[in-house]
């Protein structure tokens, strides 16, 4: 801790020396000050959370400065540092539902402005359309004249009333966002339709998998039986009801078949009832919630990886399964068909019969030994999706975005009104004006020059890169 304090001190000194040259260096190397905003971040666990964390780490490695803004989780509020000087702001905002914050369009502005000003942010990158904080930040960043990028991680329908409302909100917040990133082509189509966007400003950058964490280990398998692994949250959207249909059907046919199910959720009850009814306690093991580090150890125990999702934008789980050398059987929904080459995955329709047929085919192949070795599968999957590649492609998006100019207020109002329909457009044009006035008020109350500029931990003038000793100390703080 003391060293951290000392680091603060020295960084400021070096900052003052180099402030003259910093401006040129910034343009030349195109190093960005990026602010990732999302409601979902560590200690919450999930796809979006790890995406933000790993992408940020790779961007820091490339020399950019990255800070993350999220809402506070329990006692975790204020400013924290993670590995490599990744600075996280846990803002004290009220959580409403599913870790998403309450939004009033305005109340998050003072704190967000403070973060954006003191960190000298050039690009605001918001994640996940479920996150109210992300929408807020896109809106406020535009008011403050910053360029924005948005990453959409999920798919939405168009039929029910809730998605109609969410889509309208998305249309409004993405109306003047500079660039949008989607994780698959299906997701891109979906987002373009939902937010009525120009497809030219939507890039497809898939998620990635840390393939070094998911290496095969055939010695962990039991060769006298075939094990099917399922790792997912046990909720309706992951098709657990289908799984509840598949288990008895296949277990009756193949006495050497085992199921290994990792994850927790409300649908656990369904699986427990199935297990109870068909007396499958020794063959269907429910492992409960798994930590990320344990996932690989479960995966390598199986021969086949089964995914029964009903909707999925990208599905990292099947890539992880394949990376561990498993045969992958999955429902053909959302972006799943784009993820793995045909010979590595067996795609089925989302119903019990088709899934059973697909599984039977794979089981037969497994029995006959006509499957590639885990090591060869791993070798093929290993380099498909890497975070470095994701970071490179995201960096290009930033490069492009930084050059664009931000619409002034009157143009923004015009765009809102022309793009989002007469009613919602007018309402939000009014909100935009109010937001601007609020910003002026804040600038009058606390002028920008009164705010202390933050001492960089990462980025071109980051203190953490220069002192290797500190890195180790504070990485332990993460826990």
């Amino acid at each position: 801790m003391g060293q951290r304090g000392r680091a603060v001190l020295q960084s400021n000194a070096s900052q003052q020396e180099s402030s003259g040259t910093s401006q040129d260096a910034l343009k030349h190397n195109r190093k960005h000050n990026i602010c990732m905003v999302s409601d979902f971040f560590y200690p919450n666990m999930g796809g979006v959370e790890s995406h933000i964390y790993l992408l940020s780490q790779c961007l820091i490695e490339k020399g950019h400065k990255v800070v993350i803004v999220t809402h506070s989780y329990g006692k975790r509020k204020g400013v924290r540092y993670l590995t490599n000087g990744l600075k996280v702001y846990y803002l004290p905002l009220q959580v409403m539902y599913n870790q998403s914050t309450v939004t009033t369009c305005f109340h998050s502005l003072p704190l967000l402005r403070c973060v954006l000003v003191r960190e000298r942010i050039t690009v605001v990158h918001a994640h996940s359309s479920f996150s109210a904080l992300a929408h807020d930040s896109l809106f406020h960043a535009k008011t403050m004249g910053l360029n924005t990028v948005f990453t959409d991680h999920s798919l939405f329908g168009f039929a029910d009333i809730s998605s109609v409302l969410t889509n309208k909100l998305l249309t409004i917040t993405l109306c003047d966002t500079n660039h949008i990133v989607c994780v698959s082509y299906t997701s891109k189509e979906n987002t373009v339709l939902r937010a009525a966007l120009n497809p030219e400003i939507v890039s497809v950058i898939p998620n990635a998998v840390e393939s070094t964490d998911f290496t095969p280990d055939p010695s962990q398998r039991r060769d006298d039986r075939i094990t099917i692994v399922v790792i997912s949250r046990l909720v309706y959207r992951k098709g657990i009801d289908l799984l509840g249909g598949i288990i008895p059907e296949l277990c009756l046919k193949h006495p050497d078949l085992n199921f290994l199910i990792g994850g927790e959720g409300p649908k656990r009850l369904v699986l427990e009832e199935v297990r109870e009814k068909y007396q499958l306690h020794d063959r269907v093991r429910l492992l409960g919630a798994l930590e990320h580090k344990d996932v690989r150890n479960v995966l390598v125990q199986g021969h086949i990886f089964l995914n029964t999702s009903l909707t999925e934008a990208f599905c990292m789980a099947i890539v992880e399964g394949a990376s561990c050398g498993l045969q992958v059987v999955s429902t053909c929904v959302g972006g799943i068909p784009e993820v793995l080459p045909e010979d590595l995955i067996t795609l089925c329709e989302p119903n019990v019969r088709s899934l059973c047929a697909g599984l039977e085919k794979v089981i037969a192949r497994q029995r006959s030994g006509a499957v590639p070795t885990p090591a060869s599968i791993h070798a093929r999957v290993k380099n498909l999706y890497t975070w470095r590649n994701v970071a490179e492609r995201t960096e290009k998006v930033y490069d492009r975005v930084v050059g664009e100019e931000v619409l002034p207020l009157h143009m923004r109002i015009q765009r809102l009104r022309s793009h989002c329909g007469p009613v919602a457009g007018s309402i939000f044009a009014f909100v935009a004006v109010l937001d601007f006035l609020f910003l002026l008020l804040l600038q009058w109350l606390v002028p920008d020059q009164i705010m202390d500029l933050a001492v960089d931990a990462s980025g071109p003038f980051g203190m953490w890169n220069q002192e290797s000793g500190i890195k180790k100390r504070t990485s332990s703080q993460k826990s």
Binding site: G5, V8, C114, R118, V446
Partner: protein, 181 residues
């Protein structure tokens, strides 16, 4: 030593006075400006005018009396409990750190923290109201686990100087702490 002038996080000027008694003993005094007379007058006048307006309606002199009493009491409470005029950090190498703040009424509160309880003195960041600010704080050791921090004692809590001022104090403190392990 001469006092240096800085600003606090709201932009009001404050004065930092460093006194070095010895190589291992320093005293930092942050002085906030006094309550401006205009502010006091505006406050009193507004309450009295309000009371007078109520008085015109109710025609009850109790209103006026209570208004006067309220202003007096609230001013006294403000001066006695809220308004801090001076905050002093007195760091004595090998002995400890003493923080004292003197209120406008002359009341003084002092806390002394022994050196063996102190882990370090650092500059930290925190969210304060609708701002994110830097502040200087003393980290206290956890008696059961010497590497852990049991609690954090913020310094200059009411004057809240800006980073450049904190940096100056911080450097001197670290100088002394490094001399006296």
């Amino acid at each position: 030593m001469e006092g240096e002038s800085f600003t606090d996080i709201n932009g009001t000027p404050i004065f930092l006075d460093c006194q070095s008694h010895s190589t291992f003993c320093r005293e930092f005094t942050v002085t906030s400006p006094k309550v401006p007379v205009t502010k006091v007058i505006v406050f009193t006048c507004s309450i009295w005018l309000l009371a007078y307006a109520v008085f015109l309606f109710t025609e009850d002199t109790v209103v006026l009396t209570s208004a006067i009493l309220i202003t007096l009491v609230s001013m006294m409470l403000y001066v006695h409990l809220v308004k801090v005029e001076q905050e002093t950090l007195f760091i004595i190498g090998s002995l400890g750190v003493q923080m004292s703040s003197s209120y406008a009424s002359g009341r003084e509160t002092t806390t002394f923290i022994e050196l063996n309880k102190i882990k370090d003195i650092v500059i930290n960041e925190a969210i304060y109201m609708h701002q994110i600010i830097y502040y200087l704080c003393v980290l206290l050791k956890d008696p059961s686990d010497p590497d852990a921090v049991s609690s954090v004692v913020p310094l200059f809590q009411s004057s809240k100087p800006r980073l450049n001022c904190l940096m100056k104090v911080y450097r001197s403190c670290q100088e002394i702490l490094s001399k006296c392990p």
